[in-house]
Amino acid sequence: MTDTVGREAGPRGGDSAAGDTAAAATAPGGHRVEGTDKVTGAARYAYEHPVAGAVYAFPVTAPVASGTIGALDAAAALAMPGVIAVLHGGNTHPLGGREFELSLFEAAEVTYRGQLVALVVADTLEHARAAADAVQVSYEPSGHDVALRADHPRLYRPDKVNPGMPADTGYGDVAAGLAGAAARVAVTYTTPVQHNNAMEPHAAIASWDEAGVLTVYDTTQGPSADRDTIADVLGLAAGQVRVISPHVGGGFGSKGTTRPHAILAAVAARAAGRPVKVALSRQQMFTLTGHRTPTIQRVELGAARDGRLTAVAHDVIEHTALRTEFAEQTAACTRVMYGTPAMRTTHRLARLNVPAPSWMRAPGETPGMYALESAMDELAVALGMDPVELRIVNDPAAEPDSGLPFSSRNLVACLRAGAERFGWAGRDPRPGVRRRGRWLAGTGVAASTYPARRRPSTATAELTGDGYEIRIAAADIGTGARTALRDIAASVLGADPARVRVVLGSSTLPDAPLAGGSMGTASWGSAVAAACEALLKDGRHGRADTAGDVAGDEGWARHSFGAQFAEVLVDPATGEVRVPRLLGVFAAGRIISPVLARSQFIGGMTMGLSMALFEETAVDPSAGAFVRTDLAQYHIATCADVPSVTAFWIDEDDPHLWPGGGKGIGEIGITGTAAAIGNAVWHATGRRVRDLPITPAKLLNGEQRNAAGEPRGAERNNGE
């Protein structure tokens, strides 16, 4: 690797598209190939495909969180104008598959508020929606439990945590390490329910042809897997289902698995004998498309006087649904981050009357790094040590939990480069002493990390009349996958990128894994590069399947790392928090496309800022409901909140990665951001808010109790 900081990721930075002159009109400086289509509205999203004769469907959902479903009376709805059918458990064939959410209306009992109960099909969306209100359903409510607590009586240990890791790990003597430490931190952090809230709602159009082949225009992070799931649920062969998804308006994990809207559309189209369109409302997205579990995280750290850790414990409590288990790997990042002679990580779940939690950008690392990196800051304060230095002295030689060597690890280089660029040197560590007008100013730092993985993929490459065509069932969820794959192919082929056309976003293309887990570019890029190499040998045609290569990816700990620095202002009179500056430096292997990479990094950092200060789906224990279920109430950072977010990167030349050498960049940007901001809030004010989001209410008011039974909100804390 080079130990100097790479290029500044400015808006026109980057050299990946050097020589891309023919495409300059539409893709200057590596800008995405479909950019013009998107800004002119020519790009079609799932709901927008012109399908002749399509009708509309709108779901009926349960208004209670727990109970049995009694009589369902559709007579009034069926009599309303334009209504074609009302589908419910009593008139719909049982569905297959393993996922409760995709069984639609089969359940006789309600296990979360917002659960599907029926579907109305009508000639217009308005007619369908009006009739959905008229479907009469009686419920026999039973007691519900939606509140996660540290002392919940039914906590249990899951067999595995996402995506298949052990729930608990440990080595060494944690108690002894803490007892013998010169400085200790033992604190609890909480994070609330958060929702992915992609801009494009979950929507699908389903249409059956005479041969019984189902076409679904869906919004999905993976057309191949979506096809397989839809086929499984409907009892079809994979060849009888076609998923078409050329453009996806964001997913952040919520479109990584098939969601009920696609099954609803397919079932309704079969019943109606016509194509059917389904788009979930924003409110329905809060219950039918996944969310991030709330977390209660106990972190205990011990350190010797020189800052070296003597023990680390990270114990996590989170929720899952009654009928679906999803165990977020919140403490998994702690197994990677710092060297220590003793470590314990645990995960416990409570099954509540909530919709199933699922993937949301960097599941595990996002909440986990918030807690670990906040605790590291508290430890630095307790030790009287600079928080950058504390992280540097604890940088491990091998992955702490597994003992595996790192394929490359440049956290220290990121911390040093970031400190230099941010102007960290000479920082006065005292909290609450810097005034800027009515504001108190502070700075904070935190580390970022995310695993570098890939999955098997296939792809083909063809010589066409005027260039090359790459075919792969990849998904471009707004990341610029088409552009990145074009550049990878052009580089292998030695061709002008303008002559390379990438066809993706359909299950009829060669099978490919999801855009998820920051694995898209590595998984697809491996197959595209291999297909192009095969084409060069063959002269006309190349095909690749990377299953064998990927199986050999064992033996190394592969992770991206980064360091984020935040400057915050807090008005002590009002509790307003503003972040005038956020700066990240990342080491994520080789950066394939600087322009696209910059968007991923600053997008992740912006989402991390949003998590730190705004994002929260309130859970009402009496109503058994999520509240604030629209974008006027679930606040996401606006442009005014992010005046300066800058990302830099360090080039890594890591021989233990896929041939393209990238580690994946979709998620690392969100990890650690919230801790950097929280740490800066402490530096500005002397108040340590350990419950996200950090709001004026918490900064002004320390009297509430959090889910851990500890005082909620701000506490004066000088590191215990």
Binding site: R129, T574, L613, A618, D620, V627, A640, D641, P696, L700
Partner: protein, 336 residues
């Protein structure tokens, strides 16, 4: 959304003449259409009044302004006389919503927008404002009260009025002109005439009838807003919210301070947003400041006086502190 009929009105008389029970007036639609989609409100007849009321801003002989009810929020905010003479109003408008929403929203509609209480908007939960007598989900243990009222609420409703503009109009002693239907809006031609309401009298506290946001009678239509001649002194509008843009106020303050040549305050107006079912005129605070020699201590005493009778709900105690601190800070900014 339930089916409804739609008609355009050409004049206030035409509009109020068309009104009948179950009808709703439509202006910019930025709030009504959302509520119709959610099923919070379901008018069977929608009367489009965008061509029925004035879209003009006119100087009055008295030196004040007459603002047509159809004036867009963005046009009002950028009007030179508003920016120069009523800066509190321009600032309040610009702190509301987004550019796109301000381009569509009208003065009349802004005044009549409904609360954003999460329970009002979730039709499956009890809400006395949406469904009288059904109860108030916000009063249940653990409810999400962060954005609800701390002043003037009742056991039946703790909703807040969401408008920023109305807070400034309250502090500026604006008057709202209303066209009334004849004899209770029976559908005959309007002969009911014009009624004038001084702010904040347009809005009402929830009491036992939270379903009534305002003192308007059925079918009454806001036609214009009159601003008195510009007051002396300095004005400010500060809005506190979690994110920096496109969010309703946690608490906002519109204030005016005029200090006479003797060094004593001769005019002080304070109105609060985000704390009550109405834009809250802080008379108790004003009384402390009026006639006093302004100082940080006086302002703090004024803020304490206003919030003395605040009754926060479990979970929104911070609003009392915030309102107190914000009044003190904004008055401090207005010191000459």
């Amino acid at each position: 959304m339930r089916p409804f009929s739609y008609a355009r009105a050409g004049s206030p008389a035409d509009a109020v003449g068309q009104f009948r029970a179950g009808a709703a007036y439509l202006a910019g639609g930025t709030n009504l259409v959302d509520l119709m989609r959610l099923g919070v409100t379901a008018p069977d007849h929608v009367i489009d009044v965008t061509r029925a009321v004035s879209r003009e801003i006119a100087k009055r002989e008295s030196g004040g302004l007459t603002i047509g009810a159809g004036v867009r929020n963005s046009d009002l905010a950028s009007h030179p006389l508003v920016r120069e003479r009523y800066p509190m109003l321009a600032r309040a408008l610009l702190s509301g919503a987004s550019g796109q929403v301000r381009n569509a929203a009208t003065v009349g509609g802004n005044l009549l927008q409904r609360t954003r209480c999460p329970y009002f908007q979730d039709v499956a939960l009890p809400c006395n404002k949406r469904s009288p007598g059904s109860g108030c989900a916000a009063m249940a243990p653990g409810a999400d009260t962060a954005h609800l009222a701390v002043l003037g609420h009742s056991p039946f409703c703790a909703a807040t009025h969401p408008s920023d503009m109305a807070v400034a109009l309250t502090a500026l002693n604006a008057r709202v002109c209303v066209a009334s239907p004849a004899g209770g809006g029976s559908g005959t031609a309007n002969t009911g005439g014009i009624r004038v309401i001084e702010m904040p009298g347009l809005h009402r506290l929830p009491g036992g009838m939270p379903e009534q946001d305002t003192t308007l009678r059925p079918g009454e239509l806001i036609t214009e807003v009159k601003l008195p001649p510009p007051p002396g002194g300095r004005q400010a509008y500060r809005k506190v919210r979690e994110r920096a843009s496109f969010a309703f106020a946690l608490v906002s303050v519109g204030a005016l301070l005029d200090v006479g040549p003797d060094g004593r305050v001769r005019d002080c107006r304070i109105a609060l947003g985000g704390v009550a079912h109405v834009p809250w005129r802080a008379h108790a605070a004003e009384r402390v400041v009026l006639g006093a020699v302004p100082s940080a201590e006086v302002f703090a005493a004024a803020a304490r006086a206003e919030l003395r009778y605040a009754r926060p709900l479990p979970g929104n105690e911070y609003k009392v502190t915030l309102a107190r601190n914000l009044i003190t800070a904004v008055l401090g900014e207005l010191m000459p």
